[in-house]
Symmetry: C3
Subunit: 356 residues, 3 copies
C-alpha cells in the first residue's frame, strides 16, 4: 500500500471513545487501540500486548493506564509495561508503539508516520461536528476496496450526473463542463460555477440560480465541500472567479477516507448547515442513497481491477484533479522515503474557503 | 484452467436479456456484459469500461449503444467508445473486446475464442425451450467446483444407482452394465438399453419395458439426453443397436456446464416433453433433488481434491466416456494452440439422435 | 504444522458414531471417516475414495463394509477395495489408509502417526463420560486458530483472574502466585494450593477453605483437572505438597484440543462430579461463558499473529508450563523424525492424580 504516513488519518469519531472505553481500529494495515484516560488524555497505542499479542482493545482502563485482560500486563499511556502480575522485574524495553493522536472537528486523528514530525497544524482545516449554531447529519461506510478508489471518486464529480442519476438527479453540466483544478500545499482545490440551473444543477426545479461549489482535498484523503446559491448572473460578473464571501459555511460537507487495510477503507462523512427552522438534525437520507450507489460501483470496479491485474486506467480530461492529487501524494512519498528529510513535512494545509 | 476457447458456451437464458437490460456474466474467468439493442441485436462485450474498469453491466442501454454509468463513456455494439462526456477527442483505439454471441434453444451462447473462427453451425444441436408443442421445466445451479467435475459426473451415469438412490430409486443395472461409448466429431455418444425393468430402470413399478437412452455430449460441456420406453424384447430384436425412430424427442433433457471461474461453474438444465394432458409445465422436482445430491457430492469431492493436490483419480471401466471426451478436449486444445490452425475448428457437431 | 503425530488425538464423541453412521472428521489437515461396523468394530479410514476422491463419509455402511455412494466402490475395514460395480478385476493395491482408533472415556481417539507404534496404553489417563456414579456436562467449540494457542491458554491459568473476571470472578491469587510445574513422561503437571479463600479463589463467598488444584497435561493436547476444598490450614500443614487422597475425583474436568487444520482447532470438554442430590446432569453454563471469553480473546490473538508475522511472544514467569510442555513436544518431534526410532514412543503416560 503506498499511502503517505506523515499525515493525520481519521481513526474514529470523538464520541466513540468516552473515558474508560478502549476502541480497536485499523489504519494502514496496523491495529491500534484508542482510549481516553481518567484525566481525559487521548492515547493511541499499538493494539497488541507484547506478551502474547492479545489485543489491548479488549483490555480494561485503570485510571491513566490500560490493562491487557488476557494475562494482566499493565501499560501506561506512553506504551510502557508498568506491571506484570506475579513478576517483580520488568525490562524497561517492554513498550508498544504510541501514535500521536488529536481530536478535532468531532473526529479522532492519528499520525501514522514519524512521531517527531507530527504537527497538529497539519490536521486538515475542515468543518465538523464542533461547529457552533449548526445542525448535523453524519455516518460512515466500509468499502471492500483500496482507499484510493474512494478518494478518486470524490476527486471527480463528473460521476454525479450518471452514477447518482436516480438519487440526486442533476443536469449534465457536472459531466460536460470541467471545474477549475488548482494544486495547494498539501491538497488540491476543485471549484466551479453552475450557471442558471437549479441549485447544484438539480433538475425538476423552477427556481434558477448560479451555484458556486468549492471542494478542498487534503492529504491523506480528506475533503471539505462548501458553496451555495448566488443571484443569476453572479458567475458572469465574477468572470468565473470564486466569490469573496463564499457563504460563510452556511452548509458544508466533510468527508474522510481512511485505508484500513490494503483492500478495505472506511468512509466517514459529516454534513452541517445553519438550521432553517427548529430542526435539530440535518436529514441526509438522499446523500446516503448516493453513497450506497458509490459503494456498489466502486466495489464492482475493485473486483474488475483484481480480476485483471494487467488492465490500466485510461485517463480522460475529467481526471485532472486525480492526476494532480496523486502527483502530490507521490511527491510526499518521495520526501518520506528520502533519508534526510524524513521528519520534515511538506508545507502547511491550505486555508479552506474563507470562513470567518 | 485448460478449457477449449473455440467453442460456444452457455452464458445466460434468452429471457434474462430483454431489450435495454444489460446482464453481467462470467465465463472462463472473464467478465462479460450481454445486452440487446433497441433493434434487437444481441451483443456481448468485455464487462469493464476502459476509463476506470467500472462494469458496463451496471450501465444504461441507449438505443443501439451502452453507456457506462460511472462517468458516462458511451460504447457502440462493436465495443468502440463513441462518446466521452466533456471531451471532444476520442482515440479510435478505445475499444473493448466484443464476443460473438447467438441465441439458440432458449440459451445465449458466447464464443470465447478467436472471433474469426466463430461458426454458428458449431452450436451444439440440442433441444430446448423453443421446441414447439412441448412443456418445459428448467433451472440452474452454481457449483463451487471446477466445471470439469460436473461434466464428468454427467459422462458417467453409473452414479445414479448410488448417489441418487433416494431421489431416483433405480436398479443397479446403471452401475453394473456398461453403456456403449462412441466418439463423434465434437462430442461423444453414450447410449444403452435397459431391458425388462421399470422405465429407465426405476424400481417399485410393475410395468416392465425395454428402455433406450441416448446421451450426446458436445464440446465444451453440453449434453442432450433422449430416449424412452419400447416393448419388451425390442432391445434383443435390435441386438442392442439404436432404434431407428428414437422417440422423436417425446422427452428430452438438455444440460450445459459453463466454467465461470477456475473453481466455480454454472449448471443450466432444461427438460421438455409432449404434454400428456392439459399441463403447461413439466414438473422436475425429483430431478432437482438429484441435482442437489450431485452438488453436495461434487463440492465435497472438490474439497478433497484441493486438500490433496498430489492425489490422482484412478479410472474404472465406468470412466470410458470421460476418457474419450477428455482426449477429444485435449486434441482441440492442441489445435487451438498450434500456431497455424488457430482459426480452424475441428469438424462439425454430430447430428443428434435423429429428430424429424 | 508441527504437531506430534505419534499420539492419540480426540476425533469425536463415542455417541457420534453409532453403528451404520459414518462420520467425517478432520485431524492434522487430514480428512478421516470414522464408522462402526455391524459387529461393533470401530474403524477410521482416509476419507476419500480412490476412484475420484469423493468422501467416504457420505457413504453407506453395509455390514462390515463401507460403500462410497458416488460410484459404488466398496471398502472393507482395512481400507481395501473389495468391489467395483460392473468391473471384475480389482487391483490388490487399491487401499486407503486405515488409522488406529480406540474408544475411551467417551471419546474416540485416533493415532495419527506410524500405525506400528500405536499403543493403547498411551491414551491419556483422563476421566470421562464412562465414569460411574457421576453426573456430567460436556460440549465442544471450534476455534479459528492454531491449536497450540488453545493448549497454551490451558497451560497458564493466570488468565482466569483477568479474562474471566466476569464469568468466573476469582481472586488475583491465580495471577500473582505461581503454581508448581513438573515435567512428566508424556506431559506436564501443574498444581497449586489456594489458601484461605473461597473455593478455587472465588470471590463473594464467606466460607473460606484451602483449595488444591491439579492440572495434568498430556501429549498431544489433553488436560485433566482434579482437586477440591480442604480444611483451612491443610496447605500449610502439607507445606504445599499434594494431598495424598486428592479428592478421589469427586469433581473433574477433561479437555482436549485437536488441530483440525493449520488454523482451526476443536475444543472438547467434559465435566463430572458425584451428584449432590437427585440431579442427572452437571450444569456448566458458567464454564461455557468462560469458554466463549477464551474463544473471543484467542481468535483475536490469532488475527494479531497473522497480521504481524514478525512479532514474537515475550515470555513472563507465568509461561513456565508452556515452556516445559513445548520443550517436550519438541523432543517428541525430534524422536519422530529421527530415522531409527520412528516407531518407538517415548515413555508412558504419567499416572493421573491418584484415583482409587
Amino acid at each position: 500500500m503506498t499511502y503517505v504516513r506523515n499525515a493525520w488519518y481519521v481513526g474514529a469519531w470523538a464520541h466513540e471513545v468516552p473515558r474508560n472505553h478502549p476502541l480497536g481500529v485499523q489504519i494502514l494495515n496496523e491495529s491500534l487501540v484508542i482510549w481516553r484516560t481518567d484525566a481525559g488524555v487521548l492515547v493511541a497505542l499499538e493494539d497488541r500486548c507484547l506478551h502474547r499479542l492479545a489485543p489491548l482493545s479488549l483490555g480494561r482502563c485503570e485510571g491513566e493506564r490500560l490493562r491487557c485482560m488476557y494475562h494482566g500486563l499493565l501499560y501506561d499511556h506512553s506504551g510502557r509495561v508498568v506491571e506484570i502480575p506475579g513478576q517483580n522485574r520488568i525490562s524497561p524495553n517492554l513498550r508498544v508503539r504510541a501514535y500521536p493522536v488529536v481530536q478535532q472537528h468531532g473526529w479522532i486523528w492519528v499520525w501514522m508516520g514519524d512521531a517527531a514530525a507530527a504537527n497538529e497544524a497539519l490536521v486538515p482545516p475542515i468543518l465538523g461536528l464542533d461547529r457552533p449554531n449548526h445542525v448535523f447529519g453524519y455516518g460512515q461506510l466500509d468499502y471492500l476496496v483500496e482507499a484510493r478508489l474512494v478518494t478518486e471518486n470524490l476527486l471527480d464529480f463528473s460521476h454525479i450526473t450518471f452514477l447518482h442519476s436516480k438519487s440526486v438527479p442533476v443536469s449534465e453540466t457536472w459531466a460536460r463542463e470541467r471545474p477549475r483544478v488548482r494544486e495547494q500545499k498539501r491538497g488540491v482545490r476543485v471549484d466551479r460555477w453552475i450557471r442558471r440551473e437549479g441549485l447544484y444543477g438539480m433538475l425538476n426545479t423552477e427556481s434558477l440560480v448560479d451555484t458556486y461549489l468549492c471542494c478542498d482535498f487534503f492529504v491523506p484523503g480528506v475533503l471539505l465541500i462548501t458553496g451555495g446559491p448566488y443571484p443569476l448572473g453572479t458567475a458572469d460578473v465574477l468572470e468565473g472567479r470564486s466569490p469573496d464571501d463564499c457563504r460563510e459555511g452556511d452548509t458544508f460537507a466533510s468527508h474522510a477516507v481512511t485505508p484500513l487495510t490494503d483492500k478495505t477503507a472506511r468512509y466517514f462523512y459529516m454534513f452541517g448547515r445553519r438550521p432553517q427552522g427548529d430542526e435539530t438534525a440535518y436529514e441526509i437520507t438522499d446523500k446516503e442513497c448516493a453513497f450506497a450507489e458509490d459503494k456498489a460501483m466502486i466495489e464492482a470496479q475493485q473486483r474488475n481491477i483484481d480480476a485483471n491485474p494487467n488492465a490500466r486506467f485510461i485517463a480522460t480530461s475529467a481526471d485532472k484533479a486525480i492526476v494532480v492529487f496523486n502527483r502530490l501524494i507521490e511527491k510526499l512519498l518521495q520526501e518520506e522515503h528520502a533519508p534526510r528529510s524524513s521528519t520534515v513535512c511538506s508545507g502547511e494545509a491550505p486555508s479552506p474557503v474563507a470562513l470567518r
